[in-house]
Symmetry: C2
Subunit: 398 residues, 2 copies
């Protein structure tokens, strides 16, 4: 493998933060430490924006206790960004890389971020700039291809599952129709997690709508009416990204002017609009009285204190793996979590090509989707080890 590449390393955290994205960042730092060739380890403040602004946090000498404390802290400790670098932006990234002698670049993020990583890596090759470039997976959406699941998902799924367990009991105590809107633009993994705490069909969520299935108002109303008639209550789990057969997101049907980010994504979170729309629909069309809607919003991704232990340790390990590979030779890529066994639950961290993961979206396997309005119990086998044991509940009412 020849002489190690001499220079500094930069780590960036991009896109929506998660409860364990700092585990990945700390994993990279731990993996880089003591490696020949690696000099300074820098964190880019607010991702690519920190790079072009030469705005860094020096991570080289932070003590292990503080590193551990940072790792346990939710959200992106370095700050994040939703900037999507164009050619001119990338030129500025390389200016900074040259000036700071950056030879190792780690970018922790989802599919948009892996694409940024791919572009930067390709530019490095074109410019004959020697750079070892790694993407580390991160997204609560769990929508990266080639990954069994992604760091961030397990903890967000845990939040959603625990929230639904409590809300199911709330809905049983004061019966009515309750809608909970869960994050997930194109993939229903997080919404599907709402079923993990269900012990029998009596427990909610009784209906689950994911973006993998075109949403049909009439079917939705018939579904709700059926469950409510049967059980005297109905708990519904809905992805924020549900859309009609044409692909138009339901939430955009309401908004006067739709807000989009640099990646062209319509704003779905940070508003109760979709929940209220569905709630009004049920009230008007079914004449139901007690209808409520909650939108879980940003709590799902960064709640302080609801973390999956497996998720935390896998996030750390995937960051460490990226650093170890990047310092092992002339190599670049992304880390994928591959499941080796369900019982005992074991995973491996494998290198994949950046182009394998960049800008691609994985969605729920159709085998998990039942009648377009529910998730099959077999999904628990996939999900449970990622989330960990849930606080048990005991009921006497039903």
């Amino acid at each position: 493998m020849g002489t190690p590449l001499e220079g500094n390393a930069i780590i960036g955290q991009s896109g929506g933060p998660t409860a364990v994205i700092n585990q990945s960042m700390v994993g990279v730092v731990e993996g880089l430490r003591g490696k020949p060739g690696v000099q300074k380890i820098l964190g880019a403040r607010h991702a690519v924006r920190g790079i072009i602004n030469h705005d860094f946090i020096d991570l080289t000498d932070i003590g292990q206790d503080k590193l551990d404390a940072i790792a346990r802290t939710p959200s992106a400790g370095l700050g994040s960004s939703r900037d999507k670098p164009d050619a001119a932006y990338c030129e500025r990234i390389f200016e900074a890389f040259r000036k700071e002698n950056i030879r190792y670049f780690f970018y922790i993020g989802g599919n948009d971020s892996s694409d940024t990583c791919r572009i930067v890596n390709e530019m490095a090759k074109q410019q004959d700039y020697e750079l070892h470039c790694f993407h580390c997976p991160k997204t609560i959406d769990n929508d990266l291809v080639k990954n069994d699941h992604t760091p961030g998902y397990g903890s967000a799924a845990r939040f959603v599952a625990q929230a639904f367990m409590g809300d199911n009991l709330d809905n049983a105590a004061l019966p009515g129709i309750k809608i909970n809107v869960v994050m997930g633009r194109h993939a229903g993994f997080l919404t599907a997690a709402s079923m993990l705490g269900r012990r029998s069909p009596a427990d909610g969520p009784h209906l689950i709508y994911v973006p993998e299935v075109a949403f049909d108002e009439d079917k939705f109303l018939a579904d709700v009416d059926k469950v409510f008639t049967e059980r005297g209550r109905c708990l519904i789990s809905v992805s924020e990204g549900i859309h009609d057969a044409d692909g138009t997101a339901l939430v955009t049907k309401l908004a006067e002017d739709v807000e989009k980010d640099a990646h062209g994504n319509v704003q779905l979170s940070g508003t109760g609009a979709l929940g209220d729309l569905l709630s009004d629909l049920i009230k008007k069309k079914l004449g139901a009285k007690r209808v409520r809607a909650d939108t879980f919003g940003y709590l799902q991704r960064c709640f302080n204190g609801v973390v999956s232990e497996a998720d935390a340790s896998e996030a750390r390990a995937s960051g460490r793996k990226a650093a170890e590979l990047a310092t092992s030779g002339d190599i670049d890529g992304s880390i994928a979590i591959v499941r080796k066994s369900d019982a005992p639950y074991t995973v491996d961290y494998e290198r994949i090509e950046l182009s394998d993961v960049a800008a691609k979206t994985k969605t729920l396997d159709p085998k998990y989707i039942v009648d377009g309005n529910n998730i099959d119990e077999s999904f628990k086998k996939y999900l449970a080890p990622i989330v960990g044991d849930l606080p048990p509940v005991e009921t006497i009412l039903y």
Copy 2:
């Protein structure tokens, strides 16, 4: 104290459920067991409605392991109700009491429920029906008079504090203006809890609006503008019950037709309307770009797995105390939690008259409210022991 009163006991859980209302119910059961005179221990399904419908769950012989598991389960295990009994309804309650030979009545709830308890108790006296009647405090709103704080509040406050700690870091990572709407109709205790995890003025929430202060749009916009200009971000905590100087709740300004419960309370929860209203206001008047609103909704009261240990044990103890008093002689009343000392934190459970607590509302002491837009740091001394230690965070970005 003479011969113990021979007969059966009924327990009801009323109003909005909490994470620890089952602790109180189990505390009553434990306090009643083995007491002379007490025969069957019945739970009324869905509170007073279960009584008039003779719809009971027999709790007499449930084993301790199952009782413990029920106690740890959030929401009202017996089911709840928002029925407000009128005279005819109360007559039906007494019919049931006579038929079932109910001599001990325990009602776990907030101020509306304590009033129901008071009315039932007075009717018993008028009718010379020997009944030992106790109200057990419960409300996440923390608005019962004579109580230092109420069971349910500590766990909901813990949820709110942990949520804000995470969301503060989320807002720091992706800066913008973020509004979080917290439960609380007339009292700002739960909204005030959003500040518990704040380590310095740099941490959000930077602004806190409670119903104790009339909400003024212009002042609100000026506040937000000032914080955003100074810090480049702004995290705002708002009670769902904020209202203008005339007392009109902001949320009712929007709704076409306002929904009210049997107690005349306007529906505030289960909709994202208030958050979206404030978000739109900021976008339009301040021209701010990244403005988001989350409404914590029902997650605050029944989330499975975020519980204050102090809250859980106090809820249990207050239920047990009610049962012990009710079986100790010709006595009725309500239990109040009285703080004896801050350090070490100790409380006592004292009997108060039903008329002392019934239908009265406690609000935040004005000494805690700063400039009408924040909560003083001294509130932490009051709140911290009720909530318990929070998961610590470590930042490097700011």
